[in-house]
Symmetry: C2
Amino acid sequence: MPSIKVAILGFGTVGEGVYRILQEKRDEIKKSTGFTVEVEIILVKDKNKKRMPIKGIQITDNFQDILNNPEIDIVFEAIVGEEPAYTYLSDTIEKGCHIITANKKMFAEHGPALMKHAEFRNVQIGYEATVAGGVPIIRTVTNLLSGDQVKRIQGILNGTSNFILTKMRKEGSSFKEALFEAQRKGFAEADPSDDVSGMDAFRKLMILSSLAFGEQPDWDEVPVVGIDHLPSNEITDAAKEDYRYRHVADIWLDEKGEPQGTVGPALIGANHPFFNIDGVDNAVIVETEYLGSLTVVGPGAGMYPTGSAMIADLIHIIRQQEAVLIPN
Amino acid sequence: MPSIKVAILGFGTVGEGVYRILQEKRDEIKKSTGFTVEVEIILVKDKNKKRMPIKGIQITDNFQDILNNPEIDIVFEAIVGEEPAYTYLSDTIEKGCHIITANKKMFAEHGPALMKHAEFRNVQIGYEATVAGGVPIIRTVTNLLSGDQVKRIQGILNGTSNFILTKMRKEGSSFKEALFEAQRKGFAEADPSDDVSGMDAFRKLMILSSLAFGEQPDWDEVPVVGIDHLPSNEITDAAKEDYRYRHVADIWLDEKGEPQGTVGPALIGANHPFFNIDGVDNAVIVETEYLGSLTVVGPGAGMYPTGSAMIADLIHIIRQQEAVLIPN
C-alpha cells in the first residue's frame, strides 16, 4: 500500500495537534483510507527552540526544503498571519500539492485567489480549521449547498470574546479582569486585539461568505464592533432581564442577492439558540431554503479540536484522490 | 452530458418532497454535479388516488415495473414500515442500483444486512433521512469517524414527543391534549404509539449505533421508556425548578468497548444543550476523543427538510460515482 507524505508548516499549538493525531491515529487512518500518512518535514521559525522530541523527521527553518522535496503530497499550514503563509501556500499549490490550512487571517483575504489557483492546478484546499475550530461548519455548509440554498449564516465565531462575555455576566467581572483570565487560561493571545475588536470573527465571516454565497461583501461596508467597549453593567443588567450579550457575526443575501454582513454584540433572548452558548464554545446557525434552520455548536479552538478538523480535511482529500486514482 | 434516472418508492409527504426538490432544483443539481436527474417512475399504493399533477412520469403500483426498467440508476425509498420496503430494497441492490432511504423502521432492523449487500454489489446506500429528518447527523458522524473516535451520542430524536413535552410544560396541557394538538398540526400519525412509546427514537438510536460503533446492542437489553406515562404535574413542577423533561436516546461504549443504550425521559438542567430545544426540533450531541462535544440542532421532520436530506445523499452518491467514472 502506498504512503502519503506530508509537511507541516508551523509547530505551535495547532501544528503540534496535527502531528500528534497523525501519530496516535496512524493505524486508524491507514484502515480508513488505505494509506499510511508520514510526516516528512516540519517547518519551524527557530530550529533551536526546545520542543517535544520528534524522531526521524526533518526539522527545517527554510521553506525551500519543502518546495524542493519531490515526495511531499500534502502540506498542512498552521502559521499565524498573512505572510509568509500566503506566499508559501501559493508556491505549494504551484508545485502541485494539496494544502490544508488553519490560517483564518490569511484565508479570509487570500482564500478566493488560492481556491482559483488550486482549481487551475487541480489540487484541493482544506480549510475547515479556519472557522470555528473543531466545529465542522465548512463541511456542513458545503453539504447543505448540494441541492439547497443558504440564505443566512449567524455565528458566535470568537471563543475568546464569548469566554469574556460569559465571565462578565456570571461573575460581574470587568472587561479587563475577564480578559486577563482568558489570557491566563491560554484562550487569548498576548495581543488579544483581533479577538476583542471583532476582527477575528469578521474574517471567519468573510470565509463563510465566500463559501456560502461565492463572494464577500465589500469589507469596508461591513460594520465591525468588538466587545471591548461594552460596559460591564449593561451585561449584568441584561442578564437580570434574562437577556445575554453574545458577539454575533451575521451574513445574509439582500434582496438584490448580494451578501451583507454585520459583526458586533447582540442581545439574545432566552429562546434563541445562542442563549446557552457559554465559555469558549462556538456556534453557527445556517438558514437554508429547504432545511430551515440548522445549528451547530462545539469547541472553537484548542490543539485537538483544531487538529482533528485538519485531519478530517486530510482524509477527505485522500478519499477524493483515491477515487480518482484507484477506481475499483 | 449524461442523465441519471431515478425511481421513487412511495409518494407520501417525503416522496413528494423528493420529487418537488428534484423539479425545483433541476438546474442547480445539474450545475453542481454535471448530471441531469430525471424521475422516471414512481411507485404508489393506489394509482387512482388524487394527487398533484405529474407529467411524463410513469406511475405504477407494481414494483416489478421498477425492477424491470434497465434505465434506473438510483432508487429513493419513502415507504413506511419494514415490508415490503426491505424486500424492495434488497432486490434493488441486487439489480445494481444505489438506494436512498428515509425508512427508519426498516433500516434499524435491516440496515446492517443492506449495507453488507450493497458493499458486495458495489453500490451505495444513503440513509441521512432515517435519523433526525433534516439534521445532517449521519454525514456529520461519518465525517467525525475520520481520524477521530465517537464515544457517545445523545439525541432528542423524536419531534412528536418533544412537541408534546414542550406543550405540556409551557401550557400545562395534559398528555392527551398535547397529543391531540400534535395530530391536528400533522406532527403525529393517527397511530402515534411508536412516537410516544419511545420506539421511534430507539430505532434511530440503533441506526446511529451501527454507524458510530459498527454494531448495535442487544435490542432486549436497551431500556426503552416513552413519554406516555409521564404525569403532567411532574413536568410543570420540574419547570418551576428550572428543569425540563426531554425524551433522550443515549448510546455509548462501555468499558469493554461494547455499545450500551437507554431511551427515556430525562430531567435536563438549564446549562445543558438540550434545555432550549423546544417543539418539533431534533438535537444530537456527539462526544468524540479529539473534538470533545459537538451539538447539531434542526428540523426533525417535514416534507422539505427530509426531502433535502435525501437529495444531499443523491448528490453525494453522484459525486462519488463521478469521481470513479470520469476522472479528469
